[in-house]
Every structure is written in structure tokens, then in C-alpha cells.
């Protein structure tokens, strides 16, 4: 079967000349062999997904192809011609455009100004505004978005998907033959993903080669004809999408099966009393929130982007407090109006955006770990009495507990890997002896190996009687980790599912196509 597959692929490659070809690319960074002799061919009119764990070399390869890095050895061929780009701009002018993961638009400038930045029409340094807007309209027409997006609109007023369309329009305006997209769907809602995939199909139909880097295999399988898997800087293989399965691809990525990396679920006897309960919680983002969280269990909150998952976590933790409703912590009615209230009630919140909300990157590991516990101490007493003792004993103890390995606790947090940073954030909350943990996307942007470690650790917390509320947009993670699943939709809890539900159950509930949901809706409307 695999032999047959290879033949098919080779046959197709022989028929057509590749638009872009990477030949035995090797790139070494200090201490790391990022790419080791990787060869790939990208055909016209084809969507080619490149997948792999974090650190597998995908981004490095794409940056080389797009001219942001220069390879140590190997060559790039564009339509059979050897090329070497020394700046992304050169690649762009030759028809190779890249859309980076983070947005590259100027929020305070218009769509037209962004598309033609540094290529504005006009003579003698003057700017021809009419021409600029006219050109923008024709570029937007090419991506069939001229009705949707006005060229004079400010980019900050566009939705994420619209911004992405503008980026694609910008890329196309260079007359691109090859379009590289780095995780384009990471922050899109389902409908937005559909707009994007439709657009990619149109580009494909025009004979462009689209290179699609993604962690989301569902989309990869929906959109790509060919999937290449990188692992540790080497090409594991290229397969045709129609001849493979997500399980097989994951196996290629990690060298083991998908199911193996989740710790066993909790048993009924592990679950204790209700430690957190909210009844009829309401605020600007959330409606009629009722939930119970038990000691020793992992409750996952699933739902589409914008369904109110993060808002739920923030409301429980006092960032955007509930306006009405009763909140009980460990059986007592409490009022959480700010994060310090929540911290005093022994809650911990591991935020989605580690860099922005969870870590002080320029501070050493030690101070990051002690940050929260220090806020609970009187200002001066801590430094003089407990300060020295705590940092000598508390920090190593906590680090051991979460298996954080660092040569010194004086290392600045910014130099740690994503997984280790997450462990620092975790120890920070363990230091306050928190017994209710809220995790918002705990494994986002962390490679598969480290993910497994984080999963084990979260499960380990429950063994110590800690209650975990976990938010995740990765359905396999939700299914692999939860003892119960809450599904959110439009700021409400759409329903609860037991462990061992299927992805389909969750998606049906999250998109609102279940009978239960209609019944619920009617009931709540009746109440009003």
C-alpha cells in the first residue's frame, strides 16, 4: 500500500514541473540542527500541508523558502531556476509570499495603505490616493472580497478573518505563485475558517501552490491534497491526504499513537465534595451560568471561539466578576470581585496567554514562582523573615513537584521552553496551596512531548484533591482529559456531556443542533 502510494506521488511529480522545490536543505542554529537535508516539492494548483510538532523545523523551512533565513546548504528552485533570497522582499518580488502566524498589518492604517505599503503608486515621492484605493479594490476583487472589505477601512476595525483576507490580498498583489500560510486558522471561528478555506480553493484553482502549516489536522485533511510530516528537522514522509488518516499522520509526527498520551481518567471514588458552585451567574458576557466543580475531578469547558469559555474562567476568578448569581466556595457563599479575592479563596488561574498574563519574562524563575504567594504576605515581613527561607526551601520543593528542571532558579523565565514556562506558572499557584485550578488552554503552543507532561501534571493535581476546571479548544484534549464536559455556546452553558463522549457530540452541542438544547432554550425562555 505504501509502495503503491509512493508510486502515485512520484508519478504525479513527474508529470508536472514543481513550482517550488527545496533540495536537501540543511540549517544549523547554535546547538541545534534545525533542518537536516530536507527535500520537498510544491506543485502548482495544489495545497500542500506541512505538519509536525513544535520544533520539528516547519517554520525554519518556511522562513528559508521565503527568504527570511539563508540555508547552510541545499538549494531552492523556483520554476526550475535556482534562486537565493537574501531578504523576504526579494522572495516576494519573485512570487513567493508568506503570511506569518502573527498579524502583519498596521492597525491604524487603511486596508489599501496596508496592502501597498512600500509600493504606493505615485510619482516623485507623492502618493496618488485615488490610484491607491483603486488598485486595492482590484486586488480585493481578485480574492472576491471587494464587497466585503472597503479599501478605506481601518484595519483595526476588521474581524480576524477579514484581516487575514487582507493579508492574502497583500500577498497576491505581489503576483504570487507560491503562498505560504503559517497557522492561518489558529484564531478563527468555524465560519471564518470556511471563508478562508473557500478562498484557498480559489487560489488553488488559479494554479498557485499553497503551503499550509497547521496544527489542526481536521483542517489539514479538509483542505490539503498532500501532507508532508517533519520531525526533528527531518522529513518523515509525504502522503496524499486521500490515502491516509489523521491517526497515521499523528503517528508520523510523534512516532506513537494519539491515544497514548493522556493519563487515565479519574474514578468515581476519586471525586469528593463540591468545592465550587455557581448558580444563575450573569454578567455582560455570560447568561444563566450554573456549574459545580468537585474535588479531584477535571471538568473541561468546550465550545467554539467566542462562546464565552475564557469569559467563564475570568468571571470565576474575579477578572470580570459575575453581577448576579450565588457563588459558593467550599460550601460557603462567597463574593469574588477581583483576582485577589479569588486567590485568598485558594483559587489559581493559569491563563491562556502565558507571555502576556502569566509570566514576568525578565524576572528569574524564583521571583515568578513567589509572585502570588508574596501578595498574600504583609509587605515588609515577607522580605525580612520569610523571604529568605521561602526562596531557599519553597521554590525547590515546588519545582520538584511540577518536575521543573532548571540549572538555576535565577534564570530569567523568558529563556525557558514553553513547557517549562508553563511549569513555572503552575508552581506559582501551587505556592498559595490553591485547591481550585482554572486552566485556560494549558497546552497551546507547546509541543507534543511537553503536552503529555502537562497533562500528567494536571491529572496529578487531582490526585492531591485539587479540583480542575480546564478550558480547551482542542477536542482530543478535552476528550482525553475530562471527567465531565461542559459545552458553551453564546455565553451560556449549552449542556453537559459525560467522559468518553465523542467529538461529534461536542460539536453538535457547541453549534446548537441538539434536541436537548432546544428544550433547554424553551425552558429558559419560559422562565423569563
Amino acid at each position: 500500500m505504501t509502495e503503491e502510494l509512493k508510486e502515485v506521488v512520484e508519478e504525479k511529480n513527474n508529470q508536472l514541473e514543481p513550482l517550488l522545490e527545496a533540495r536537501s536543505i540543511t540549517k544549523r542554529f547554535p546547538g541545534v540542527l534545525a533542518l537536516n537535508g530536507v527535500s520537498l516539492k510544491f506543485m502548482p494548483g495544489e495545497v500542500h500541508a506541512v505538519v509536525g510538532e513544535n520544533g520539528a523545523g516547519k517554520s525554519t523551512l518556511m522562513k528559508i523558502v521565503a527568504g527570511a533565513y539563508i540555508p547552510d546548504s541545499g538549494e531552492i528552485l523556483l520554476q526550475g531556476q535556482r534562486v537565493s533570497f537574501s531578504h523576504p522582499r526579494e522572495a516576494q518580488l519573485k512570487g513567493v509570499s508568506i503570511i506569518y502566524q502573527e498579524f502583519n498589518l498596521l492597525p491604524e492604517r487603511t486596508v489599501a495603505q496596508n496592502i501597498f505599503l512600500a509600493r504606493e503608486p505615485g510619482k516623485f515621492g507623492a502618493l496618488n490616493v485615488a490610484e491607491l484605493n483603486k488598485n486595492a479594490v482590484s486586488v480585493l476583487k481578485e480574492v472576491e472580497a471587494d464587497q466585503l472589505i472597503s479599501p478605506t477601512k481601518m484595519c483595526h476595525s476588521l474581524s480576524v478573518a477579514e484581516q487575514q483576507i487582507v493579508e492574502i490580498a497583500k500577498a497576491i498583489s505581489f503576483d504570487s505563485k507560491v503562498l505560504i500560510m503559517d497557522e492561518p486558522t489558529a484564531s478563527l471561528t468555524l465560519t471564518e475558517v470556511k471563508i478562508l478555506t473557500d478562498l484557498i480553493r480559489k487560489l488553488k484553482a488559479r494554479g498557485m501552490a499553497v503551503i499550509f502549516i497547521s496544527h489542526r489536522l481536521i483542517e489539514v485533511f479538509e483542505i490539503a491534497e498532500k501532507i508532508s510530516v517533519l520531525k526533528d528537522g527531518e522529513l518523515v514522509g509525504t502522503v496524499m491526504t486521500k490515502d491516509t488518516t489523521p491517526q497515521e499522520v499523528v503517528h508520523m509526527m510523534v512516532g506513537r499513537d494519539l491515544d497514548h498520551y493522556f493519563p487515565p481518567l479519574g474514578k468515581p471514588e476519586d471525586f469528593g465534595d463540591v468545592v465550587l458552585r455557581i448558580r444563575n451567574g450573569n454578567n455582560d458576557f455570560l447568561k444563566d451560568i450554573n456549574l459545580e466543580l468537585r474535588k479531584g475531578e477535571i471538568l473541561c469547558v468546550a465550545g467554539l471561539q467566542g462562546s464565552g469559555r475564557t469569559e467563564l474562567a475570568q468571571s470565576l476568578f474575579g477578572v470580570t466578576p459575575f453581577k448576579t448569581g450565588t457563588l459558593e466556595v467550599s460550601g460557603k457563599i462567597r463574593n469574588i470581585k477581583s483576582p485577589p479575592d479569588a486567590i485568598r479563596l485558594k483559587m489559581g488561574f493559569v491563563t491562556e496567554d502565558r507571555k502576556a498574563e502569566g509570566l514576568l519574562p525578565m524576572q528569574p524563575i524564583r521571583d515568578n514562582i513567589l509572585l502570588t504567594v508574596r501578595t498574600l504576605q504583609p509587605l515588609f515581613e515577607f522580605i525580612f523573615k520569610d523571604g529568605i527561607r521561602s526562596s531557599r526551601t519553597l521554590v525547590p520543593t515546588l519545582a520538584k513537584q511540577v518536575d521543573l528542571r532548571a540549572d538555576t532558579f535565577d534564570r530569567e523565565a523568558q529563556f525557558l521552553s514553553g513547557g517549562n514556562q508553563q511549569k513555572v506558572v503552575l508552581s506559582k499557584w501551587l505556592s498559595t496551596k490553591a485547591n481550585i485550578f482554572i486552566f485556560d488552554e494549558p497546552t497551546r503552543g507547546i509541543d507534543v512531548e511537553a503536552k503529555a507532561g502537562i497533562h500528567d501534571m494536571i491529572r496529578g493535581l487531582t490526585k492531591e484533591g485539587i479540583a480542575v476546571l480546564m478550558i480547551s479548544s482542542e477536542l482530543p484534549e478535552v476528550l482525553g482529559m475530562s471527567d465531565r464536559i461542559l459545552v458553551m455556546r453564546d455565553g451560556r452553558i449549552a449542556g453537559e456531556l459525560p467522559a468518553k463522549s465523542t467529538e461529534q457530540d461536542i460539536m453538535l452541542m457547541a453549534t446548537g443542533h441538539t434536541k436537548d438544547q432546544d428544550a433547554n432554550n424553551n425552558a429558559s425562555e419560559g422562565k423569563e
Binding site: 523576504p88 522582499r89 516576494q92 502583519n104 498589518l105 498596521l106 492597525p107 491604524e108 492604517r109 495603505q113 505599503l117 512600500a118 509600493r119 504606493e120 505615485g122 515621492g125 507623492a126 502618493l127 490616493v129 483595526h156 476595525s157
Partner: protein, 331 residues
């Protein structure tokens, strides 16, 4: 009736879509407020006198010219704290070179513009090539200039010939020359920002330097250019001041607080300190707010410190209103 309703809705829509920046509301408020004070304290003498009204603008000329330059560097996510001393060195050097003789005027003008261009180049090069934070870089160059002036001149030096006073006191018809020059500078500033590639690139550099670089903008050149333009506006302000004072003194720049005030009026006008956002019209409105306050308060004999309190309040309120507004937009 339906038509009037429709037109009312249309007006509302225009009003909303025009999205008038807060600075203009502040300008109207300050104007009305001063007018009311005037009615009560001086029976409307000030606001009924066109000469005083013109004087408001004349008083704003020095600050207005340099604020346009400051707006450019702020949009580029930079800052220029050396403008006050650039103004001083211009005032001192031009009257020193002129020595009251009309034939020396061209040399003096060429000389001070050259000094301004050199200061701007040095500022820009230190910031882009040595990668020194712009605040520190221009604080440093400002101190260097201050030291040089103080070591060389201690009091009024030289004088300007009568012909040169035309800049400060001359009129074309009823309109003072200085006002015409201020508006020319503002229009040139607008043209540079809105109608040249340099302007578009400057917004890019200030908004996100890396995005601009990857798009092919020569970021260093653009920022150096902005600094040269800013220093040149400081030179123009200095020349205006020396033509008013008839002789240059080393303290004209720092005593007028042109460094911090030029930043303040730009920020009141909606220019972002973090770059990538702003325009000269807002800055002009900010300058007029300061001008109305100081003229009205002076004429009315109100405690001058109260004026400073007002200026401070307006800076804080204006910036707060921009933040609130952008939050609303995001929501």
C-alpha cells in the same frame, strides 16, 4: 416630514461616521469657556477684539511650527527632546551671524538650517544606527547643545536687522506673516503625512517597524528623515522667536518649554506616543487650545498658574478620552 426625519438621521449618521476626534471638542470647550470668562470678567472686550483673536494665533506660532515636526517623529514612534535647545541655538546663532546687518541674513538663514539638519541627522543616526532609545538619545543631544550654547553665550547676542523682523511683525493685508508661515508649515506637514510615500512609510515604521521592514520600507532612512524635518521645524520656530525678540538669548527654547509642550499638544491632538497614529490637524487644534488658554488668561489677569493647571488637566483628559474611545471602537 419624512424627508426631515430622513435628513436628521443622515445628519446623525454623518456625525457618527465622521468620528470627530476628541481634541476638537476640547478646542470648542476651551473657546467657549474662555469666552464666558471674558464676558464675566471683562465684558467681552477680548473676544470682540479681532486683534487679540489674531494674537492668539501669533502666540501659537512658535509652538505650532515645532509641534508639527514633533508630530512627525512621534508618528514614527520616536521623540525629540532636543527641540528646545535647537530653538535656542538657532535664535542665538542667527542674531550672532546677522549682527544687525541685512546683508548677513542669507548666510545666517543658511547657517541655522544647516545646524538644524545636522542636529536632526545626528539624532536620527544615534537612534537608528546605535539603537539608543529616542528619549535618551535626544535628551543627550539636547544637553550637548545646551552645554555648547551656555559655554559660548551668556546673554543676548547680536541682533537682527529690521528687514528680518518682518517674519515676526510683518503683515500681508490684515494677516500677520507669522500666521501664514504657521499654516504653510501645517499644510506641508499634512501633505507629507497624507500625500507622500515618505508619510505612508513613516506611519508604517511607527506602527510596526518589523512589518514595515518586511514590506520593503527602508525604516532607518524614514526615521532619520523625520528627525531632520523635526529639527528643521525647530529652526523655523527659533527664527520666528529671534525676529520677535530682535536678539537671540540662550534661554528662549527651554523657557518656552518647547520640548514638552510640543509633545503635549501633539498628544492632545491624538498622536500616539507609541507611534503609527496621529495627524497635524489635531496638533494644530492642541496648539490653539494652549494659545487660547494663555491669551485669555493673560488678558483677564487670572493667576497664570491656574493656566498651567488647566493645561495639565486638558492633557490628562484628552489622552484619557482617546483611550476610552479606542476601547469603544474595539467593543
Amino acid at each position: 416630514m419624512t424627508t426631515s426625519l430622513a435628513s436628521e438621521n443622515r445628519l446623525k449618521r454623518i456625525f457618527r461616521s465622521a468620528n470627530i476626534p476628541p481634541v476638537y471638542y476640547f478646542l470648542i470647550f476651551v473657546f467657549l469657556f474662555s469666552g464666558i470668562l471674558d464676558q464675566f470678567l471683562a465684558d467681552g472686550q477680548i473676544f470682540s477684539n479681532p486683534l487679540i483673536m489674531l494674537n492668539i494665533i501669533v502666540r501659537s506660532v512658535a509652538l505650532g511650527i515645532v509641534a508639527v515636526g514633533q508630530t512627525l517623529v512621534l508618528i514614527g514612534a520616536s521623540i525629540d527632546l532636543s527641540v528646545a535647545f535647537t530653538i535656542s541655538i538657532t535664535a542665538v546663532m542667527s542674531s550672532y551671524i546677522m549682527q544687525g546687518k541685512t546683508e548677513n541674513v542669507p548666510v545666517a538663514i543658511a547657517g541655522v538650517f544647516l545646524i538644524g539638519i545636522v542636529i536632526g541627522l545626528i539624532n536620527g543616526l544615534i537612534i537608528t544606527k546605535l539603537r539608543v532609545n529616542p528619549f535618551i538619545a535626544t535628551l543627550g543631544t539636547g544637553l550637548i547643545i545646551k552645554g555648547i550654547i551656555n559655554a559660548s553665550f551668556s546673554n543676548y547676542t547680536g541682533s537682527v536687522p529690521q528687514a528680518f523682523e518682518y517674519f515676526g511683525y510683518g503683515k500681508i493685508g490684515p494677516i500677520p506673516v507669522s500666521i501664514i508661515i504657521l499654516f504653510l508649515v501645517v499644510i506641508i506637514g499634512w501633505f507629507i503625512l497624507a500625500r507622500t510615500k515618505f508619510g505612508a512609510h513613516l506611519y508604517g515604521v511607527g506602527g510596526n517597524s518589523e512589518v514595515a521592514r518586511l514590506s520593503g520600507v527602508r525604516t532607518d532612512r524614514v526615521l532619520i528623515g523625520a528627525h531632520v524635518l523635526c529639527s528643521v521645524t525647530a529652526v523655523l520656530s527659533g527664527m520666528f522667536l529671534v525676529s520677535l525678540m530682535r536678539s537671540g538669548a540662550p534661554w528662549v527654547g527651554p523657557n518656552g518649554f518647547y520640548d514638552l509642550n510640543s509633545i503635549a499638544v501633539a498628544v492632545i491632538g491624538g498622536t500616539s506616543l507609541s507611534g503609527g497614529k496621529g495627524d497635524v490637524w489635531g496638533t494644530l487644534a492642541g496648539v490653539l487650545i494652549f494659545g487660547i488658554l494663555s491669551t485669555a488668561f493673560n488678558q483677564l489677569g487670572v493667576n497664570p498658574y491656574l493656566k498651567t493647571v488647566f493645561q495639565g488637566l486638558i492633557i490628562v483628559l484628552a489622552v484619557a478620552s482617546y483611550t476610552i474611545r479606542s476601547k469603544k471602537e474595539a467593543a
